[in-house]
C-alpha cells in the first residue's frame, strides 16, 4: 500500500538556521498538508497546498515558513530562520480529494538548539 514518506526522521539545528523538511506524498493525491505537534500539545494545522499554490494557512505559518512542490513528487516545508519554539514534530499529509482521508507521514522531529 502506498505511504507518505518524510525525511529526515530527526533534524537538529541551531537557532537562526534554515531547515527544509521533505515529504513525498502519495502519487495520485492532489491535496497536501503540513501539521505540527509541539511536545505535549495538540496537532496543529500549518498549511494546505493544492494546484501548486497555498490554499489555506494558519496564523503559525508566518513569513518564516514556505512550502514548495519543486518537481511534482516532493513537497517541502522550509523554515528560514528557526526559533527555539519551532521545535516540534512536523507531519506531512496528502489526500486525493477534499474531505477524503488524509494519509499522514511518520513525521520529522525538529529540534532547535
Amino acid at each position: 500500500e502506498p505511504e507518505v514518506t518524510q525525511t529526515p526522521s530527526h533534524q537538529v539545528t541551531q537557532m537562526g538556521q534554515e531547515v527544509i523538511l521533505r515529504c513525498v506524498p502519495i502519487s495520485n493525491h492532489l491535496y497536501f498538508y503540513w501539521y505540527r505537534q509541539i511536545l505535549g500539545q495538540k496537532v496543529e494545522f500549518l498549511v494546505s497546498f493544492y494546484n501548486n499554490e497555498i490554499s489555506e494557512k494558519s496564523e503559525i505559518f508566518d513569513d518564516q515558513f514556505s512550502v514548495e512542490r519543486p518537481d511534482g513528487s516532493n513537497f517541502t516545508l522550509k523554515i528560514r530562520s528557526t526559533k527555539l519554539e519551532d521545535s516540534a514534530m512536523y507531519f506531512c499529509a496528502s489526500s486525493r480529494d477534499l474531505n477524503y482521508e488524509q494519509y499522514f507521514g511518520p513525521g520529522t522531529r525538529l529540534t532547535v538548539t
Partner: protein, 112 residues
C-alpha cells in the same frame, strides 16, 4: 473560532468493557467529522469518518448536531485498541481546503 474538545486526556478500561471517547466541537457550518488514531510507534491514521457511517474495528461514532458531539464508542474493548485517539473536524467550502482541526487527544489504555 473552530474548537474541538476531548475532555478525557486518559481513559483506562478493562478488556471486554465498553468504551466511549468523547468529542465536542464548535464549528461554523456543517463540518465533516473524523476520528484519527495513532498506535504506539505508528503514524496517524484514519479510524473512521462520519459520512461513511462504517464500523471500523468495532468502533462507531454518532453525530449529535444538537449537542455538537461526535463520541466514539466500542461495546467490547480489546487490548489492541490501546492508542491515542483524535477527534478532528474538517471544513470545506469558502476558504477551507480540508484542514483538520485536532482535539487534544485521548490516550486509551485497555488492560487485560
Amino acid at each position: 473560532a473552530q474548537r474541538v474538545t476531548q475532555p478525557e486526556k486518559l481513559l483506562s478500561v478493562f478488556k471486554g468493557a465498553p468504551v466511549e471517547l468523547k468529542c465536542n466541537y464548535s464549528y461554523s457550518g456543517s463540518p465533516e467529522l473524523f476520528w484519527y488514531v495513532q498506535y504506539s510507534r505508528q503514524r496517524l491514521q484514519l479510524l473512521l469518518r462520519h459520512i461513511s457511517r462504517e464500523s471500523i474495528k468495532g468502533f462507531t461514532a454518532d453525530l449529535n448536531k444538537g449537542e455538537t458531539s461526535f463520541h466514539l464508542k466500542k461495546p467490547f474493548a480489546q487490548e489492541e485498541d490501546s492508542a491515542m485517539y483524535y477527534c478532528a473536524p474538517s471544513k470545506t467550502g469558502g476558504t477551507s481546503y480540508g484542514k483538520l482541526t485536532f482535539g487534544q487527544g485521548t490516550i486509551l489504555t485497555v488492560h487485560p
